[in-house]
Symmetry: C2
Subunit: 410 residues, 2 copies
């Protein structure tokens, strides 16, 4: 059966934004694990529970500079009745005292050094008087004083970290300290960008005549990295159906973002190709800008049709693609921007059923709508300090309303 | 004049934390600019004002799919009195119509395509009835309707971005769109790590006997990257005065972090070497953990003496080194963690004049102090959800007090 041209069906039936979001989430499964060096794993999502294979430390160590000795032998010592200990040696971190300390003997010890056999406490240097090869102990010391026991930091077989954790710098340090050189983390989703448009020059070229420079790939690259993805490949492709078909029909990436050619004009091959080659699950959403957004699957790979206009591209990326990448990579899909409550200096109108992506300038906690706010005006997102999204069931906000905005710089 | 051994002077006189912080800030000057490719510049600090060398677009373009025509020729058109226009061609983005449109002529035009000479408005496809090579115009169109004028996004010679700005993904997209392939940004500070301690094995080795694995370099590497620095080199050096002297006396890095050997024990060569080779500006601070922190200059390079105990190392890094790196790189030195108000489930004692770095577990907005919180217990920072810092002039907090904490995961 010949499928009809989806472009002609056009946007007569738009997919509600939340319906599309659910579709995207349902198709954004957690990726499998990969093995990577521990020291590269900060910020990655742990794909296994970690049980410690070792004690840290694997020896009793001193927590102070002072004298290791037998605690019981100090009992009764006071500054009126000092007890004398013979200092039989010295131990610094990384070495060990070979002998066994006898009661009445002490050994000079540095923080981090192993406490020798026969000793069970460390007397702080300040509480002893040293002369020749003896110390006067002025105070009794309880057993265990200033001694870090075997496993005081980490115990062997202790559960260290749980699957799903986003690894902190100190986490990978802990993993290194128990000798784990490699760990399993969730693989990063790979993204292919298909940048389409006969009018586009590649980034690095000079704008001239009736051509403009592709800015979408430049913007999307750091966003994809921010969201835990890997930009595997950027293709710049003219509005050529056959070429686009070739690029869409086979891909190694987990996710393809096609920008441009996603609307209902005669050069908009994207939606039809996804419909022919796979399943076009949604095309056209009540979101402004970003109405010509689409989503589908080809051979199980997610295809996002993003508008070519850069503001639409940004808002559609942040709303849908970001969340898909975060979910595939195991990251939280909360907005990556700081939020702030501000008062509106101007009213904002929205139609019920539609989400508006509004760019705002903030001055003294007052928010002003950026006037030159068309979908093609990328500079509006550099002039803006923040953006807000209206709710689907809202008609907008009145002047003076307090609203929650997302700060671009965060 | 032979300088006396600073270790023996010890910590009798500690430098207040705020005094050290001021010293650090006074020596953390903004680094000079470097030229880098625009597409690598997201997150970098702009070192020049950017004036646009081009208009974007450099032609009038259509903001709609429809028909370009002369607006004045449509005046008077209604659905009762449609006006007929001859469609003389089609123009898509990236191409241009060579002729000049006459009144009574229209051209089919796609969003983003250049509006031809003779036309000054675009009629939406929905408002025209097409048959053969003519359209019936059902509605008058004002001049300029659905036309994006030359420079609608960016005007030539317009100030685009200001020096000091932390570049957003959309900023570098704007820079690419005006054809700027390279820009000047603040150079990233280079950091050398000097990891000292006879007891240390390198990361990747297995802990054994009386040796432990260096975890500080593993933890500091991603923190330095987070704070806009570049980890230039990691040296693992034993507690050998001559070797350490060699490493400290000459360095290409902007900043050296020496971990371990910074206290007042017999193997603690750091403070004395900095005192001999340059200026030891501070050594010993009333902060717990992190008391054996020091700071000095050798040949104008900043030397941070960080405690070897990993919790101390983390807190001293975050409090001092982080801020130094951010200031050198032009970044905000605000804490990079999200903050949250929680209620204390336990009291926290602090001495006046001392800052406590307290690790906390958060459960239902209640904060519990992590009990096993010594300076050597790195796992306390993986068990903790957050930390707080007491104020120098505070005696701590009572149970039930509301406190502001910093979340590690943010």
């Amino acid at each position: 059966m010949q499928k009809s041209d989806v472009r002609m069906r056009g946007f007569l039936k738009r997919t509600p934004v939340n319906t599309l979001l659910s579709l995207v989430k349902n198709h954004s499964h957690l990726l499998p694990a990969e093995d990577i060096p521990t020291f590269e794993a900060s910020g990655r999502i742990l794909a296994e529970d970690i049980i410690s294979p070792a004690n840290v430390p694997d020896f009793d160590r001193s927590a102070m500079d002072g004298y290791a000795l037998n605690a019981e032998a100090t009992f009764g010592a006071t500054s009126y009745n000092p007890l004398m200990f013979k200092v039989v040696g010295q131990v610094t971190p990384g070495e060990s005292y070979k002998g066994v300390l006898k009661p009445g003997e002490a050994i000079s010890i540095m923080t981090g050094a192993p406490v020798p056999s026969g000793a069970n406490a460390v007397l702080m240097a300040e509480n002893a008087e040293f002369s020749n090869d003896h110390i006067q102990v002025l105070e009794a010391v309880p057993p265990g004083k200033h001694v870090g026991k075997v496993g005081e930091d980490i115990k062997k077989n202790q559960k260290l970290l749980q699957q799903g954790r986003c690894l902190r710098p100190q986490d990978i340090a802990v993993l290194a300290s128990v000798g784990l050189t490699n760990i399993k983390v969730v693989r990063k989703p790979e993204v292919k960008l298909l940048i389409t448009g006969n009018e586009l020059l590649k980034p690095g070229e000079q704008p001239s005549g009736v051509q403009i420079v592709d800015s979408n790939s430049v913007m999307l690259a750091p966003l994809i990295e921010r969201d835990g993805g890997v930009l595997a490949k950027v293709h710049h492709v003219p509005d050529d159906r056959d070429l686009l078909q070739k690029h869409l029909s086979k891909t190694d990436a987990d996710l393809v973002c096609m920008t441009g050619g996603t609307s209902v004009g005669i050069e908009d091959h994207g939606p039809m190709l996804v419909d022919e080659l796979g399943d076009l699950l949604a095309h056209g959403i009540p979101m402004r800008p970003a109405a010509p957004t689409g989503f589908g699957l080809i051979n199980g790979k997610k295809i996002f049709l993003l508008p070519g206009n850069p503001v639409s591209c940004l808002s559609a990326y942040d709303y849908f693609v970001r969340r898909s990448l975060c979910m595939m990579g195991g990251h939280s899909d909360e907005w990556p921007y700081r939020n702030k409550k501000v008062k509106l200096a101007t009213k904002i109108s929205s139609e019920i059923g539609r989400i508006e992506y509004v760019r705002l300038r903030i001055e003294n906690d007052l928010a002003f709508v950026i006037a030159s706010g068309g979908a093609s005006i990328l500079s509006s997102t550099t002039q803006a300090d923040a953006f807000l999204l209206t709710e689907e069931d809202s008609e907008g906000f009145a002047e003076g309303d307090e609203v929650q905005v997302w700060l671009y710089d965060s």
